[in-house]
Amino acid sequence: MDLGVSASALVPASIAVPLAGAALMAGFSRLMPRWARDLSAIAIALATTTMTLILMAASAGRPMIYWFSGWRPSAGMAIGIDYAVGPLGAGMASLAGVLASAALVYCWRYFDSARGRHHALVLIFLAGSVDFCLTGDLFNLFVALELVAVTAFALTGYNAGYPAPLQGAINFAVTNSLGGMTVLMGVGFLYARTGSLNLAQIGQALTGRHADGLVVAAFALLTGGFLVKAAIVPFHFWLPDAYGSAPIPVCVLFAGVMSELGLFAVMRLWVTVFSGLAGGSGPRMRAVLLGFGILTAVVGAVMALAQLHLKRMLAFVTMSHLGIYLIGVGLLTPLGLAGASLLVIGDGLAKSALFLGVGVVQHQRASVSETKLRGRGRGLAVTGGTLVLGALVLADLPPFVSSAGHALLVDAADQAGLPWMETVIALSVIAASGAVLRAAARIWLGWGDTEISRTDPGTADDPGEEAEDRADTPVAERAQGSQEPSGQQRRVPLTMMLPPLALLAIGLGLGLTSGIADHAAAAAAAFSDRAAYAMAVLGTHSGSMPPGGRIVVPVSPVASAGGVLTDLGQVLAALCVAGIALDRRALRFRRALAVGTGWLRRLHSGLVGDQVTWLAAGLALLAALGEWALH
């Protein structure tokens, strides 16, 4: 279909603008003063965000298809590469844009050297994320995965002078490169079978066919590769190492969008490619995805409670959330997908705000260790407030947007006949949020013990914590020559104070937007409509049309009041968790917990050999489960 010239030109512009900006910045950074580099990078990121927001609105009715180089398909056969822009993908892309903008503003006073190459890398990361969300081509999806990965590896190792960031970046690079290779192999299998790289056309070629060994292998390789990116157990071991050692502005991009992109790809592939197989069983696939999701949510939450290193704690919080999102999308219903999408936005904004807040603490106090910072929060009241508010948003504090997402997710689980899922989700959310609140109480209120015996649970195993502490403070970077005033006296730059507050405000604003749940449900329904997708891309489709009509979001006043009560209950419970974690009287209870979860913490050894072994085991498991579900 033809679009208005203006709107259709925005599709390529949404990647061309950040890429061109990155290229010029990489090529001519010598000619630009620091402030010009910062300003233009922020302007480019904001422009990209605006364009993707317009695309989200413009594609709300039906998908916008854009054929690069003008090669439209002939006779149902794709010739070139298309972008299939839907509101869900464009929404993910704009989230990436918002977070990249916030990270770049934050960088203003954060990174000092490397002549602005981080600007180029962040912009390329953004362009890769946009490509990931919009592309309709399987090989192009792989290219986007690689582009995001390469920039992410480099940004993780930014503080290359310290062992921890290098080790984190190496673990990250090894596991994710293996993930990329499995994706490439999967692409090869599907291409050999269907003779196409276009997602819609591959889906059409497989429609009604029975899955044989090749298709199952392709499923396992593609899904497994993207689950590495999504840090789903047992593919997740790289995540704490990478997030724990990456510079703070980079963590924002990682925690908010990067891993979520992996889940997005898994769903895109399921909807457009694998769900049309004959004999494939939806309920079985649901069981597989939910199993991985629950495992990840629980492991992430438990590990988050066990951390004293703030960035590693947030890393495990992120992981727990990824499990919850996988539960949402794994229900394989539009409603679950809608709930997960709102949660991705709401939690992503909150987690990014938390990372930025931790960055302020690190910048001012040169530590990210909860115990070392105990009682040293004085003078950082705004940041303390940011951290507490962010943590409460993680527990779905209404009226932030994550609360709406949580309500949708619970509804979706109920409709799928899995009401107990609500409890699993609530427990993970409470534990993750409680961990952050515990840290805030210790730092700003001075609660808890000063010296923590190694047997106390809250005790984290943070090898190399000492090294990491100062690793990405600008103080360390600037050390040469200048006499830095001691951390206590420096004022927090506004460019570091405001971005986290702005992110939280966006989450609040979205939560107050009326009908946000309906918009999300409509976007998810459009995303899940396999036949409409194929029709829009190829102009033809085979297979049965699903029952038409929009899904209805059950928002009765009673239900939403109940939802608000549940959310408030979660918030209270999270506060209780924080209290118990710091109370002297609960020491024995905590000790028992620590002993009980010791084996889990020992599994997170940070050894790349272990990580690759788990990756291989996960792939084999996924292949077996795929055989069970698809055959």
Binding site: A9, P12, A22, A26, G27, R117, A154, G213, S605, A620
Partner: protein, 252 residues
């Protein structure tokens, strides 16, 4: 995990994975048995529609041109990333190695080595330019030619020394080449939009099949990719060379 447990788990997992891959590979069409519909269609269409004799070039720079744009930026990001990782850190300084025996003069490279380097590097420059500019006609193009061009600088280093090769490759020029090449791809893509067609549409005159200037935007894209790749690989070599030759840990 102990080493033993890890090996056992890996053995089990690898066996499962190997079985999966084996089944998958067994499902592939046998070698040379068929080419896919997509490949057949492009083989047939490309020479006619795009006036090229090298179909691969038409695929990478026209039919699937957007993929190549992103691949070019993977290289750009990798080069920028290496530069970030290898930059002189706060506890490092740049310092030319000092001769430990100042009374003994360093013998200059022998004329034979010098002559060979001059000959080889000019040959590499010519071959590189030839490969970049003939992508539409014969296998090759910007990526391959760019690497060959950059390797000319390596030969200069082999035949001379660090100071000389640094004079041949000012960092500003290399970075500019990298940036211009990458942004040039996007500018050529915008030509399509300006002409009222799509991004990366081939809107330049196609020329006669088999002539050096044919294929529309394809040779232009090859040129900018050549500039980007040559600049990028030269930066890579220069960064690694700096790391081994002149970047030293500061003495405390």
């Amino acid at each position: 995990m102990s080493r033993r447990v890890r090996l056992m788990l890996f053995a089990v997992a690898a066996a499962g994975l190997a079985a999966t891959l084996g089944v998958g590979l067994a499902g592939l069409p046998s070698f040379g048995a068929q080419i896919t519909d997509y490949a057949r269609m492009l083989n047939e269409m490309a020479p006619r529609q795009r006036h090229v004799t090298d179909v691969v070039s038409a695929i990478t720079f026209d039919y699937r041109g957007i993929d190549t744009l992103f691949e070019e930026f993977i290289l750009l990001a990798a080069v920028a990333g290496i530069s970030v990782l290898l930059r002189p850190l706060s506890d490092e300084i740049r310092q030319l190695p000092r001769d430990k025996a100042p009374e003994r003069s360093i013998p200059p490279p022998s004329p034979a080595v010098w002559l060979l380097a001059a000959f080889l590097s000019s040959l590499l420059v010519l071959t590189g330019l030839e490969t970049v500019t003939h992508g539409t006609l014969t296998p090759g193009g910007g990526f391959q030619g760019g690497v060959i061009l950059a390797s000319a600088l390596y030969v200069v280093y082999l035949g001379t020394n660090y100071v000389t090769v640094e004079r041949f490759q000012p960092d500003a020029l290399l970075e500019a080449s990298d940036g211009v090449g990458a942004s040039g791809y996007i500018l050529i893509g915008l030509l399509g939009l300006l002409a009222g067609a799509h991004f990366l549409s081939n809107v330049v005159g196609l020329g006669a099949t088999g002539s050096p200037i044919s294929g529309g935007t394809i040779p232009l894209l090859n040129l900018v990719v050549g500039a980007e790749v040559a600049g990028g690989f030269a930066i890579l070599a220069s960064e690694f060379l700096d790391q081994t030759a002149v970047i030293r840990t500061r003495r405390r």
